[in-house]
């Protein structure tokens, strides 16, 4: 599993945000969008096209899975398709976090006076 996780790195920022949003539990498209928007304090807005292209790719790569559509109480009980993170998705997101962490450490050591790794 670690081998295939490494092969899928690096993730695009949108893919990483989606995995982060799905980490606590299953969500539908709108909930993912809101979560990403709130977490990034409005810096990242996922429009439908961008969001569903990324969701489609993540499903195809096996990082998330599409669940059966079911009513969503927060959206007037319309039937929504929910997405959940897979085990592979967890591993890839964790590997990506590690990768970013080592980058961050290197950047801190080199660009910030007195900064250590």
């Amino acid at each position: 599993m670690t081998q295939s996780a490494a092969e899928l790195l690096p993730l695009t920022p949108v893919a990483f945000e989606i995995l982060l949003a799905l980490a606590p539990g299953e969500r539908h498209g709108y909930a993912i969008m809101r979560e990403v928007e709130e977490r990034s304090e409005g810096r990242i807005t996922l429009h439908p096209g961008t969001l569903y292209r990324a969701l489609g790719r993540l499903v195809d790569e096996g990082l998330i899975e599409e669940l059966a559509a079911r009513p969503s109480p927060d959206r007037g009980n319309e039937r929504r398709r929910f997405y959940g993170i897979t085990e592979l998705g967890h591993d890839v997101a964790a590997a990506e976090a590690e990768r970013l962490e080592s980058q961050l450490a290197a950047a801190r050591a080199r660009f910030q006076p007195g900064g250590g790794s």
Partner: protein, 496 residues
């Protein structure tokens, strides 16, 4: 990298959700068409619901819908085309088509050269005509607030005279009595004087100007300073050089300021150099020297009221229009007419300075532009005929490609490459031709036209050329769409 603990959205209680208007949903459904059908089948419904959610959110924020539509439009186009792999599709095989198009053009060098020559001629003539029209007729004169500058002439309807230089004494009276102009100056382009020093003696055109001339034009010197009332009234021989004389005769050295040059045996101190665009009264003026009316006519002993030869220019005061200024001038002239017998029947006439300079050229330039536009039209028609003739000779080849499975898109793309090559080469030649033509025009143009030195090709001219080229390519495109599906490959191949 911990995930922030936000409440799960699913847990939010149900609330009444107003629906977005039907037209908005229809618009978004249309925008979804940028994406391929398989993508719409997979995500279309969810995307519509998500758009509706976002619409509801945005409509509760001030200006939110504007941002929503702007972002949605961009997103639909960008992600839709990306999903279609639009860029990949164009790039894949594009290099081959470009090579093939180049080979097709060089295979028939005579026809290609002829098409290019015809197009270059038409485009070049049209481009030169348009640049001339724009720079001479449409642009304001290159002086600050040039639209407020007026020329003042004397007219005498009884004698049928419309364009006579005012007299010095009248000009002084107008300047003193008027309230419509913030300034008034006069000049006279006198006999050329002999300039000695710094090389062989040479005759230079001289403009004698009154003390407020440079102030009125609001044109500062680019090196040193212009002269004003103090220098003129002190009768010290000073001179301002034109840019071209400064460059040609004095090597563009700034040290010239403060030195003396000899004009007709009299030493003049150089106070400054004007910019290259300053062409009053005309482009070939080499130096401006002060003209003090107080001692301008020593042989007469007074300022004459019957010598009609001045050039007078004035600047409209703030808030005064030309008609009001003319009324006021008429009033002053009526008073002067009663006072002086020399003024009987004479009336001043103020005209915008630009009209005064380019007015006579207007019909000629418009006719010229019309003529070169016709040349362009003829050139385009001829080029289209040549291309059509060439394409008819390639029916078999293109028919074969279509039969072997080349799509309409591929054949059209190759045609587009060929047309682009031809027009790009023709445009380069057109540019060169127009440059030569405009240089020629600058040599023979009337000397009163300012800024001819800077008439030339620029980014806007490039735009003009692009539009003119598009006119060439457009009919081909229309024809290729109007063919019947039957025999499609043949017509597709021939029609361009």
């Amino acid at each position: 990298m911990a995930v922030s603990a936000t409440p799960n959205r699913d847990a939010v209680p149900d609330r009444a959700l107003p629906q977005p208007p039907r037209w908005a949903m229809t618009c978004y459904r249309w925008l979804l068409r940028f994406a391929p059908a398989r993508f719409r089948a997979r995500h279309g419904d969810e995307m519509l619901m998500l758009f509706a959610d976002r619409y509801r959110d945005a409509s509760s924020r001030r200006g939110g819908l504007l941002y929503l539509w702007a972002g949605t439009l961009r997103d639909a186009v960008v992600s839709g085309l990306a999903e279609r792999k639009f860029g990949d599709r164009f790039l894949r095989g594009g290099g081959n088509d470009a090579r093939y198009a180049a080979r097709a053009l060089t295979a028939r060098p005579a026809t290609s050269a002829l098409v290019i020559a015809v197009l270059a001629l038409g485009l070049g003539a049209s481009l030169a005509g348009w640049v001339l029209l724009r720079d001479v007729l449409l642009r304001p004169l290159p002086y600050p607030e040039a639209e407020r500058l007026v020329a003042i002439w004397d007219t005498n309807p009884e004698m049928g005279l419309e364009h006579v230089g005012p007299t010095p004494a009248n000009m002084l009276d107008w300047r003193e009595q008027n309230r419509s102009f913030s300034g008034m100056a006069a000049w006279y382009a006198n006999e050329p004087r002999t300039l000695r020093g710094a090389g062989d003696p040479v005759k230079v055109a001289v403009a004698e100007v009154t003390e407020d001339f440079f102030g009125l034009m609001s044109e500062p010197a680019v090196v040193g300073a212009t002269f004003g009332a103090a220098e003129v009234l002190s009768d010290e021989p000073v001179v301002v050089l034109s840019h071209w004389l400064w460059v040609e005769r004095f090597g563009g050295s700034e040290d010239i300021v403060g030195q003396t040059i000899e004009l007709d045996g009299v030493n003049h101190r150089v106070t400054g150099v004007m910019s290259g665009s300053f062409a009053v009264p005309q482009r070939d003026i080499g130096v401006w020297v002060p003209w003090n009316f107080a001692n301008g006519w020593p042989q007469l002993g007074y300022v004459p009221r019957d010598y009609r030869y001045l050039f007078v220019v004035a600047r409209l005061a703030d808030g005064v229009d030309l008609a009001a200024a003319q009324d006021h001038l008429d009033g002053i002239a009526a008073g002067l007419e009663e006072q002086y017998a020399e003024n009987a029947g004479w009336r001043p006439l103020a005209v915008p300075l630009r009209d005064d300079i380019v007015g006579d050229l207007r019909p000629a330039l418009v006719v010229l532009y019309g003529a070169v536009s016709l040349v362009l039209l003829i050139a385009l028609t001829n080029a289209a005929h040549l291309v059509l003739g060439r394409e008819l000779g390639r029916r078999a080849e293109l028919g074969m490609r279509a039969a072997l499975g080349a799509s309409a898109y591929r054949l059209a793309r190759q045609s587009a490459f060929e047309a682009t090559f031809v027009t790009a080469i023709a445009a380069l030649w057109a540019w060169a031709l127009a440059t030569v033509a405009l240089r020629g025009v600058a040599l023979v143009a009337p000397p009163t036209l300012p800024r001819l030195y800077e008439i030339g090709l620029d980014a806007a001219a490039l735009g003009y050329l692009a539009v003119a080229r598009a006119r060439h390519r457009r009919p081909a495109h229309c024809r290729s769409r109007s063919r019947s599906p039957r025999n499609d490959h043949r017509h597709r191949a021939t029609a361009r």
